[in-house]
Amino acid sequence: MLDKTLIGRESESTLVEVERGAIRRLADAVGDANPVHTDEAAARSAGFASLAAPLTFPGVLAQNERFRHSLDLGTRSLLLGEASIEYGRPIVAGDRLTVKTKVADVQERAGTSGATDVLILETEGRGAEGEFVFRTRETYILRRG
């Protein structure tokens, strides 16, 4: 069983600049050819302030290897079971976001091969004015062994 006292643990806040290259790399990796991710004019004519990040971009911002490592999960690997993202506004190139992750919950669920640990991480991103930009909630299944 995962340590329940992990619940509430928070990462440091990090300031992240949303780079055009990062947006393009994600769009390319997904095979998403929508020009709003790569062409400034197309993005603006669709109503975005600049290149629009793909909808799953907050998933990139939520990656915090150091924080994850600090949770001491041992050799167990994480398998993403569920993810949800709320948006305060679209994320665009040039955004400077303050991002912070916390352990929202630790659960034990019955599985076919015994109990499985579940780790729920929440990450929030705020803009330069402190305004809410996004929140992700990711449910990870921990594989034993």
Binding site: L26, V30, V36, P54, Y87, G145
Partner: protein, 263 residues
């Protein structure tokens, strides 16, 4: 002009389908590129011996990549409309070589206070065997019409339309002229039947049902999957059971398939 390319609330109906998107087979290079782009180098996705050791036949395609396909589908369809919420549940593992087809359907449209208009879209993805691999939900906010957009972009308050007013306008419209709806981007242009690689409607019935990882989705009553992710199963009567996810693994698909192109 650009306004004509927007998707407006007045043109959206419950049940409208998004043009399906057939993605090219996911290969290991794409997985590597995706891991690089996201910064998530989980060993199950990049380290084949590690994945085998953990009891899998090969590395796994990250669930987030399948979610990315869903995101692409809705971004294409929404044409700039603002997404409020996007959730996905990874029902079945995607393997290198798999061909994923993503689909979506308008589940609800809502008039909200203060001239805000929202649509809920059910989205889901199937592999080349017709098995459900991911399902999710998107809530987006749309301008009511071109007029509404022009007003708001000009700094004016939003256009407030009530369901009754819309009803009345539609009734008038159908009395006078033939087309019941403004034709502005109403329907996905593609006939869904065209693009489907396999008979997907028949998906859930056949064989061993693909079963969700830990789907505890209570059967939802018909109305409003408001802002929740993962609404009722998008495919008609998907067997929402629970699942021994990783064990009953399909043999990996030959990573040779040449399929999938956009549009």
């Amino acid at each position: 002009m650009l306004l004509a390319r927007q998707l407006y609330f007045e043109a959206v109906k419950v049940g409208d389908e998004l043009p399906p998107l057939v993605k090219p087979p996911v290969d290991r290079s794409q997985v590597a590129r995706f891991c690089g782009a996201t910064g998530d180098y989980g060993p199950l996705h990049v380290d084949e011996p590690f994945a085998r050791n953990a009891g899998f036949p090969s590395v796994l395609v990250p669930g987030m990549l399948a979610m990315g396909f869903l995101g692409e589908l809705v971004t294409d369809w929404l044409r700039g409309a603002r997404v409020r919420r996007f959730g996905a549940r990874f029902v079945k593992i995607v393997w290198p070589g798999d061909v994923v087809t993503v689909r979506g359907r308008v589940a609800d449209r809502r008039f909200e206070a203060g001239g805000r208009y929202a649509v809920d879209i059910e989205v889901w993805g199937e592999n080349q065997r017709g098995e459900l691999v991911v399902r999710g939900a998107v809530t987006a906010q749309l301008f009511y019409s071109g007029d509404d957009e022009t007003r708001q972009r000009g700094g004016q308050p939003p256009l407030v339309v009530t369901p009754a007013e819309e009803e009345e306008r539609l009734a008038k419209l159908s009395r006078s002229t033939a087309p019941a709806r403004p034709a502005v981007g109403t329907r996905p242009a593609a006939a869904p039947a065209k693009v489907q690689p396999a008979k997907p409607a028949a998906v859930p019935q056949k064989g061993a049902p693909p079963v969700p990882v830990q789907a505890k989705v209570p059967p939802r009553p018909e109305p409003k999957p408001v802002a929740k992710p993962a609404p009722k199963a998008p495919v008609k009567k998907a067997p929402a059971k629970k699942a021994p996810a990783p064990k009953s693994v399909p043999k990996k698909a030959a990573p040779k398939t040449k399929a999938g192109k956009r549009r």
